[in-house]
C-alpha cells in the first residue's frame, strides 16, 4: 500500500536531471575494451524532424538504448484553448500538428458538434473531405521531401515542395491562407469555394498520380534507398498494437486499420478508395504505403469534387453558425444571433466526448469536456506522433546510427503534435 508520504518525500528529494534517471548499468556491458558511449542528438539537429532530443547509448556505431526527450516546443495549447470560446479555440488547436492542421481542426469541431448534436450538411462534409485529403497529400509531400533529404537525395525536396506550392495555391484560393487556414468550423466550413476552384483541384488531382509515379521511379528502385530502407527498423504488428501505434506505421505491418474505412465519418463511405498495406513492416514498406496513400488521396479528392452536392456549406442552426451577412440587414433575430456568437460564443451542453479521426500519422483524437459554458473546460488532443514516438525504441535498438536516421525519417514525427 503506497502512502502519500512516500510520494511526497520523493518529490522533495532534489531529483537531478536526466542523467541520474538514465542508468546505463542495466544494459549489457560490451566485451573487450569497448565502452558504452552516451551521445546526445540534441534538440538542434538537422536530421531530427524538429526539436527532438535523443539520448542514445552507443556501442561503437550500434545503438543499445535510446531515450527520446521531448517538450522543446511545448506551447500549452490545451490550456490556452480552455481560455477561449469554442469558436476562438479552433485556430489555437489547429497549430498543434502543424502539418495536418485540417485534421486538428476537424477533430475539435467534430467533438464539439457531437456534444451539441449538430447535423452537418452534405456539401460541407464533401468540402471537408476534399480539404482534409489535400492536407494529407501535403503532409506526405513534406515527409517525402525531408526524408529524402535525410537520406541524401536532395532533388526530391525541390520536387515535393513544388507540388506543395500547387496545393497551397489551391488552399489559398478557397480559404485565404496557406497554412493554418481555420477553414473547418463548428457546423461545416467557413465559406463556400469560389468559381474555378473545382477546375483547379480536378486538374491537380488528375495530374498528381503521374507525379507520384515519377517520384517512385526516382526512389523506389534506387540501390541506396533499398539498402537503407529495406529490412531496417522492422517491428512486428503485435508490438506496435501494444504501443498504441496507428496510421501508416501500423499499415506497413499488414494491419489494414484505417478509421476512414473502419468507422467512416464525414461521408467517407461515399468514396471509393483502397487502403495500402505493407508486408513486413520495415522502413521500405512505410515509404511505399505513404506513397500509395498519396495516390489514393488524389482519387478521393477527384470523387469529392466531381460529386459535390449543392447546398449550404455550414449548418443552418443560427445558434452555432454565423448568419449570412445579408440577413443582418433585414432580420432582428439574425442580428441577435450574430451578436451573441461574436461576443460570448455559443454554449455547449455539459458532457465529455472523445472524437477520433484518421490523420496522416495515425489516429488523432480530440477529447472535449464541456461544463455548459461558452468555453471548453478541457481540450486534449490524442496526438498520433506522441504515441508513435514510443515505437522508436523497438525499431532502432541494436541497429546502426544511420538506420536510426532513416527510421526517424520514416516514423514521420511532428514535434508540434508531440509537444502540443
Amino acid at each position: 500500500m503506497v502512502e502519500v508520504s512516500d510520494i511526497v518525500d520523493r518529490d522533495l528529494e532534489q531529483k537531478p536531471l536526466v542523467q541520474a534517471a538514465y542508468d546505463v548499468s542495466s544494459l549489457q556491458q560490451p566485451e573487450y575494451d569497448d565502452e558504452l558511449l552516451t551521445l546526445n542528438f540534441g534538440p538542434h539537429h538537422p536530421a531530427t524532424h524538429g526539436v527532438l532530443r535523443l539520448l542514445s547509448t552507443l556501442e561503437g556505431e550500434v545503438i543499445r538504448d535510446v531515450k527520446p526527450i521531448i517538450g522543446y516546443v511545448h506551447t500549452g495549447i490545451e490550456k490556452t484553448a480552455e481560455d477561449k470560446s469554442y469558436w476562438k479555440a479552433i485556430p489555437v488547436v489547429e497549430r498543434m500538428d502543424y502539418l495536418a492542421y485540417m485534421f486538428n481542426a476537424y477533430a475539435f469541431c467534430g467533438a464539439t458538434e457531437t456534444l451539441v448534436g449538430l447535423e452537418i450538411p452534405k456539401r460541407a462534409q464533401y468540402l471537408r473531405v476534399a480539404h482534409m485529403e489535400l492536407n494529407r497529400i501535403k503532409s506526405h509531400l513534406v515527409w517525402l521531401g525531408t526524408s529524402a533529404l535525410d537520406l541524401g537525395a536532395m532533388s526530391m525536396f525541390w520536387y515535393c515542395f513544388r507540388d506543395r506550392e500547387e496545393i497551397l495555391d489551391i488552399l489559398e484560393m478557397s480559404t485565404g491562407q496557406r497554412m493554418h487556414t481555420r477553414y473547418i468550423q463548428v457546423g461545416g466550413v467557413a465559406e463556400d469555394v469560389p468559381v474555378g476552384w473545382a477546375d483547379k483541384v480536378l486538374a491537380f488531382a488528375k495530374s498528381f498520380p503521374t507525379r507520384v509515379d515519377q517520384y517512385a521511379a526516382l526512389l523506389s528502385k534506387n540501390e541506396i534507398v533499398l539498402q537503407r530502407l529495406r529490412h531496417t527498423g522492422t517491428v512486428d504488428e503485435q508490438t506496435l498494437l501494444g504501443l498504441g501505434v496507428t496510421g501508416p506505421l501500423l499499415r506497413a505491418t499488414g494491419n489494414p486499420w484505417d478509421l476512414r474505412k473502419a468507422a467512416p465519418y464525414s461521408s467517407y463511405d461515399d468514396f471509393e478508395f483502397t487502403i495500402p498495406v505493407g508486408t513486413i513492416g520495415d522502413n521500405y514498406d512505410r515509404y511505399k504505403v505513404r506513397l500509395e496513400e498519396m495516390k489514393q488521396s488524389a482519387r478521393i479528392i477527384e470523387q469529392a469534387v466531381e460529386g459535390m452536392p449543392e447546398g449550404p456549406w455550414i449548418t443552418d442552426d443560427r445558434k452555432y453558425a454565423l448568419p449570412p451577412r445579408h440577413e443582418l440587414a433585414t432580420s432582428m433575430e439574425a442580428l441577435i444571433h450574430h451578436f451573441k456568437l461574436v461576443t460570448e460564443g455559443f454554449r455547449v451542453p455539459p458532457g465529455e466526448v472523445y472524437f477520433p479521426v484518421e490523420s496522416p500519422r495515425g489516429e488523432m483524437g480530440c477529447f472535449v469536456r464541456s461544463d455548459g459554458s461558452a468555453k471548453p473546460a478541457r481540450v486534449h488532443m490524442r496526438d498520433p506522433s506522441f504515441v508513435n514516438l514510443q515505437a522508436l525504441k523497438p525499431m532502432i535498438i541494436d541497429t546502426y546510427i544511420a538506420d536510426m536516421i532513416a527510421t526517424l525519417a520514416m516514423l514521420d514525427p511532428v514535434l508540434g503534435g508531440i509537444d502540443r
Binding site: 534538440p43 538542434h44 538537422p46 524538429g50 516546443v73 506551447t75 500549452g76 485556430p91 493554418h180
Partner: protein, 228 residues
C-alpha cells in the same frame, strides 16, 4: 508663391555650398588644375568613400549563411523559401549550415518554449561574430497566438534584428524580412551585437564544468582549458 522652410535655410545653404565646392574641385581635377596638397586631399576623399568596410559589408550581406533552426510551423514556411517558387538562392543565402559555428544568421522559426530557450541562447552564443537574428513569425517576436506559461518571446533573452510578423509569414514576407536584414548589413559595418544593442557589461554564462569565454581557453593545451 515661394515656400520657405524656416530653420532649414542654414543647413541647406551649407549643403549647397559644399556641393558646389565639390563640383568645382572635380572640374579642376578633370582639367588638371589641382596641385600639391589640394590634389592629395581630393584623392584621399575619393578613396575614403569606398573603404574596405563597405566592401566587406557588401561581401557579408550577399553571402549570409542561415543556420538550420526550424522549431515549429514557421519552419515549414522557411523550407518553402528555399524551394523553387520563392528562391532564396537568388540572393546567395541557400547554404543553410547545420553547425552554429559556421552560420551567420539564426532564423527563429517557431515558438520558443521555456525548455528550449536556454538551448537557443547557447546556440546563439556559439555563433561567431558577425551574427544576426530574425524572429520569424508572431510566436517568437511576441507570444503570438499563445499567451501562456509555456513560451517566451525571443526579445527577452537574445537581441533580435528583424521581426517578421505572420502566423506563419508567407515565404514572400520572410524574404522581405531577410532582405531588410541584408540592407541593414550593407549599410552598417558590423560592430558586434553588444554595440548594436547596448549590451556592454554582459557576459555569457556557461553551464558548470565548461568555460564561459569563446577565447583560446577552450583549446586543449592552453591554460584554463575545460576539463568537461
Amino acid at each position: 508663391m515661394e515656400i520657405v522652410r524656416a530653420g532649414d535655410k542654414g543647413a541647406q545653404d551649407l549643403a549647397r555650398t559644399e556641393f558646389r565646392s565639390a563640383q568645382m574641385k572635380s572640374r579642376d581635377m578633370l582639367r588638371g588644375d589641382l596641385e600639391g596638397a589640394e590634389l592629395e586631399a581630393y584623392v584621399e576623399s575619393r578613396v575614403l568613400t569606398t573603404t574596405l568596410d563597405k566592401a566587406v559589408a557588401w561581401a557579408r550581406g550577399n553571402a549570409i549563411f542561415p543556420a538550420t533552426f526550424g522549431l515549429a510551423c514557421c519552419a515549414i514556411e522557411m523550407m518553402s523559401i528555399v524551394a523553387a517558387r520563392v528562391d532564396l538562392a537568388r540572393f546567395g543565402f541557400e547554404a543553410f549550415r547545420a553547425s552554429p559555428r559556421q552560420a551567420d544568421l539564426l532564423i527563429l522559426s517557431g515558438r520558443i518554449s521555456i525548455k528550449m530557450a536556454p538551448v537557443v541562447r547557447r546556440i546563439y552564443d556559439q555563433m561567431l561574430e558577425p551574427k544576426y537574428v530574425i524572429a520569424m513569425g508572431a510566436c517568437s517576436s511576441s507570444m503570438g497566438v499563445f499567451n501562456n506559461y509555456a513560451i517566451v518571446p525571443a526579445d527577452k533573452f537574445m537581441p533580435v534584428d528583424v521581426h517578421v510578423p505572420g502566423c506563419p509569414p508567407r515565404p514572400e514576407a520572410l524574404t522581405h524580412g531577410i532582405l531588410k536584414l541584408r540592407n541593414l548589413i550593407l549599410e552598417n559595418p558590423d560592430l558586434g551585437w553588444r554595440d548594436r544593442y547596448d549590451g556592454h557589461g554582459t557576459v555569457e554564462v556557461a553551464p558548470e564544468g565548461t568555460t564561459a569565454s569563446a577565447h583560446a581557453e577552450n583549446v586543449p593545451g592552453t591554460e584554463g582549458g575545460a576539463s568537461a
